[in-house]
Amino acid sequence: MTQLRPLWNVWKARWARLLIGLLLAELSVCSVFLLMGQTGSRLGLIAVGAAAAFGILRFAGAARIILRYLERLATHDATFRVLADIRLWFYRRLAHGAAAGLGFRRSGDLLSRLVLDVQSLDSLYLRILVPLATALLSLPIVILVCLKGSVLLAICVGVIFCLTAFVLPAFMAKLSYRWGPELQRTQAEMNNQALDLVGGMRELRIFGQEEAATKRFLDAESAFYTAQRQQGRAMAHIHALSLLLTRLGVICALGGCAGLFFPKEQAVVGITVLFVVMTALDNVVDLPRAGLLFGQVRHAAERVAEATVVPEGTPDEGTLPVPAGSEIEVRNVTFGWTAERTVLKNINFRLREGERAALIGPSGAGKSSLAALLLKVVSPQEGEIILGGEDIADISTEALRSRVAWLSQASHLFDDTIRSNLLLGREHLSDEAMWVALEQAQIADFVRSLPDGLDSWIGENGSHISGGQGRRIALARVLLSDAPVLILDEPGTGLDVETERAFLDTLNSLDRSRTILLITHRLTGVEQLDHLWMLQDGVLKSHAL
């Protein structure tokens, strides 16, 4: 259960509301027992011709209706709060830990899975904890009521209740936890095959392999369904078993009424006990489903906990405020993502304020690693990086990133308006400033031509606009920041040659208050540079211009 601990901590902040929800749920269950017990006893009294008062019955009915309403409100309100808390907690943990590194890895699919995992944590309170807690409270009530009949009956019903409410769900939780990885694996395989099938449609059509690929996908589907069916069947078995158990409980209570196997009770007591037992067992008959859910939630919690661990080698948050200057000096820096493979070997360079430099080299030469180092996503194994006279290891990370802006292929466009994509949470920027940035990125005319202008929606990862337009909006966003240092990592990807040239040309027109480091695998010829560095096999060489 250690995986659930961080979640527990999120919950702790809301303990009062969660508790109120639980209490109301408990009270609501008590009112059901009262209602059904009264129904039984009143019916018994009517049948034997005794006088019966119906006050408590009416009260129990009204209480049940009101308590159930309040319970729903309280538990849902608590759930909504916790739901928001969990998301924010996850977001902040990710932001402080792994997130920065994700910019340098392709991880969209992984993150979508994680979001689904976070979502599945929502059910922990409403669908697992509340039903389980009410079952726990029901147990002593049922036993107390049964004791009015006989001790033997109380024991038998108690055992049956525990089996249905706790043992079977625990068993189901165990099963679903055990089968989780297999389900996950087969589903991932099916998803991969679907991606191959759809993404590779051109290749498959041209090489006449559509049928073979379809077959592979359908095979993966049937493997997934085999795993799913196994779980579905287990659920059906266990559900049938818990139904049988509850019937057995009712037969026990009936035996109490009739004096069969159990000591005979007074008729009215007998029927009251029977009604309460039936209600109690009916309430827990679906708990194995909560068990199934719990097994899945545990896996989700594990993955979420894993994702929020701060990866090793993440630089410490520094404390110094940013220095005034923005001269960058890289001194004897050696770095590798893993200990075995060094990507950068003893790199040295100096980039003065307002200078433009290009770093070129083949893919995989470590160009992006250098960007990661400058943004303090990772720290060098040896050497140091100085910004305006201070070692960046000592500068506060968030402050550093406000001085060094970064544009890469992985720069994300949010499913939002152009305005909020440009602002990214900054509130103090004027429309004019935005238009200036859009103008510089040479996309202002396009934005102006849209019916909603800055408030146009650009779709999921910019799907409503073209790739080139998206890159320009991402550039405008970077230009909009007042960061004196810009790192542009392969800004031309996805642009055709003319667009790329025009794009790079806009950089020349920027005023000289900004330092620009252009990382690319080739130059187009329009760049106006102060330095040209070649990175090959981890070694940086300066080239004449």
């Binding site: 979001v115 998803n191 139904l243 990214l424 920041s481």
Partner: protein
């Protein structure tokens, strides 16, 4: 969130009346109806078992009531016939429930499989040009997650919605038959259910729909933020954004709770109806019992009371499945949004008579006045494009992005059909050929080859599964894969793809070249084959490409100046869907 959704369910009944349907809504409805029809047999069987379950439940409760009545009225002991009946009915009910659950699992699976095949057919019918409009990940998730989300719709919602009215009212009727007064009370309360929901439902229907939408939007926004979290973190705005996200969630919660306060009254109405029925029947029966100690009368009273929960159970099952219903609308909308390609005028049916003629030097390609547009009311993507390549010609195609180069290539590959004009390949009209006969003549190399999950060998051999080991070796040589083969951990058996060994752009492009060698088609079409490569790698690739061009007709779309000495014989320039310059070199 089950409760929340079940609340929304009750609105939906009336929301349909209140909300005017738009045209696309109608299409969606048609699609949903079609899905329901396809699944009707399984639904009917499940509903039938559900109905049997209700009937057995009546026997069960009747035998229980009989036993209790005898015990209560004193004197008479336990009647073992009724106890036997009770046990039998109990076991039967468990078995029916068991069968129902297993069948639901099976029918949900069957329905998802059917829907998935339907989608696959649709994807293949549209062909690779689908990828122009939709991201492949989006399409793939439609095949997987969207279909999976429908499990509950087919296995739970459909049977429950087919069953509930019949089940509820048959319970009421049976109770009426046994005990008129109780039957009338129960029937009244059941009638009261929709009335109550109409009062609260209509008021909140529209608002609650908006809440669901807002909730979904928040969910989507969260996913989007998480996907782009690196961008936010690296811009130093993470904390501000987190606060904005928190505010949005809090605001949504407040608005949602406001709606839920009213909405839960609707779900409370089910509670009210049931509890009122129960309490009322109990209190009312005080007068109903004429002779204390009469077994049949006591049985009837007990039966009526015990049947009350049974009368409301089908409705509860239905509301519990409401969230499943919402899924079909989501998935249906996504499927409706798939673009439909324009139909070309005067499609010639495949005659299969003409056969493309190839020679040792390649194949002749004759493009005559073809036009095409992707979307009605938009300018033509191709306008009267004509050119002619002799066998062995190598054509370079240039032009700005958006000039129509990719559209032209997709047409030559047979992914789309011209609205006008014709394409003759080796003397045969492309439209008169089976798609397989067209692709047999063509090899294609794009910007980035798709590397499938599998070994390097699989990834090359799939171009020609029947090729011999010697042919494979030759292709490896010709494409210079042999240069990097020793660097791979398992040589030809190295696992590639999403979770396999990561190849560089140049290494991947060599796989595409090896595929083309192995396929040995006379026409070679290339779409910016070196766009993502650095100049040094591009140079290496060109060496292999030159080998590939030998003895083939080729059309190469490119921006790279390095291609300008590859041995081209024709130069084509496109602008706004037209060929604006055409030059034949000697």
């Amino acid at each position: 969130m089950e409760n929340f959704h079940s609340v929304c369910f009750s609105f939906s009944i009336f929301a349909c009346i209140c909300l005017r349907m738009k045209a696309d809504k109608k299409m969606l409805k048609g699609w949903v109806r079609q899905q329901n029809r396809a699944n009707r047999p399984a639904t009917m069987i499940l509903a039938l078992i559900g109905m049997l379950n209700v009937l057995v439940g009546m026997i069960l409760i009747w035998s229980l009531a009989s036993i209790l009545a005898r015990l209560l009225t004193g004197g008479q002991g336990l009647d073992f016939r009724y106890l036997g009946l009770f046990i039998l009915a109990s076991v039967l009910r468990v078995l029916l429930g068991y069968a129902q659950e297993l069948l639901a699992v099976a029918s949900g699976e069957k329905a998802r499989k059917r829907l998935r095949r339907e989608l696959l057919d649709r994807f293949f019918a549209q062909g690779p040009s689908l990828l122009r409009h939709q991201h492949s990940a989006y399409l793939a998730s439609m095949l997987t997650d969207r279909v999976e989300a429908l499990e509950g719709y087919f296995s739970r919602w459909m049977p429950a919605s087919a069953l509930w009215v019949v089940a509820q009212w048959s319970v009421v009727l049976v109770v009426f038959w046994q005990n008129h007064r109780a039957g009338l009370i129960l029937g009244g309360c059941c009638l009261f259910l929709p009335v109550f929901q109409a009062v609260f439902g209509i008021a909140t229907a529209v608002a609650s729909r908006r809440q669901i939408l807002a909730l979904n939007r928040l969910q989507v926004r969260f996913l989007d933020r998480i996907r782009g979290i690196a961008t936010i973190v690296l811009s130093g705005n993470a904390e501000k954004d987190a606060q904005a996200l928190g505010h949005a969630a809090d605001e949504l919660r407040q608005r949602t709770m406001k709606v839920l306060r009213v909405a839960f009254l609707t779900s409370a109405s089910t509670d009210i109806a049931m509890i009122v029925a129960l309490v009322w029947i109990v209190i009312d029966q005080r007068h109903g019992l004429l002779h204390v100690g009469s077994v049949p009368q006591t049985t009837a009273i007990l039966f009526a009371v015990l049947m009350v929960p049974e009368a409301f159970a089908p409705f509860r099952a239905l509301s519990a499945a409401y969230q499943d219903r919402a899924q079909i609308t989501n998935s249906g909308e996504a499927i409706q949004k798939l673009p439909a390609l324009p139909v070309s005028q005067g499609i010639k049916t495949a005659t299969h008579q003409s056969v493309p003629q190839r020679s040792d030097r390649g194949i002749e390609l004759n493009v005559r006045d073809i036009s095409y547009r992707w979307v009605e009311d938009r300018p033509l993507a191709l306008a009267d494009v004509s050119f002619h390549l002799k066998a062995g010609d190598i054509a370079l195609l240039t032009g700005l992005s958006g000039a129509g180069k990719s559209t032209l290539i997709e047409m030559l590959l047979g992914f789309i059909r011209p609205l006008q004009g014709e394409v003759l390949l080796g003397g045969a009209d492309l439209q008169g050929l089976k798609p397989a006969d067209v692709t047999r003549q063509i090899s294609w190399i794009g910007q980035k080859p798709v590397i499938f999950a599998g070994t390097l060998r699989d990834n090359i051999m799939f171009a020609a599964p029947e090729a011999s080991e010697a042919q494979l070796r030759a292709a490896l040589e010709a494409s210079s894969i042999t240069d990097y083969l020793p660097l791979l951990p398992d040589g030809l058996d190295t696992q590639l793809g999403e979770r396999g060994f990561g190849l560089s752009g140049g290494q991947a492009q060599r796989i595409a070249i090896a595929r083309a060698f192995l396929k040995d088609a006379p026409l070679l079409i290339m779409d910016e084959p070196t766009a993502h490569l650095d100049p040094a790698t591009e140079k290496d690739i060109l060496v292999a490409l030159r080998r590939l061009l030998d003895g083939r007709t080729a059309l190469i779309s490119t921006h790279s100046p390095q291609f300008h000495n590859i041995g081209e014989t024709v130069r084509l320039v496109m602008e706004k869907g037209r060929i604006t310059a055409q030059e034949t070199l000697s």
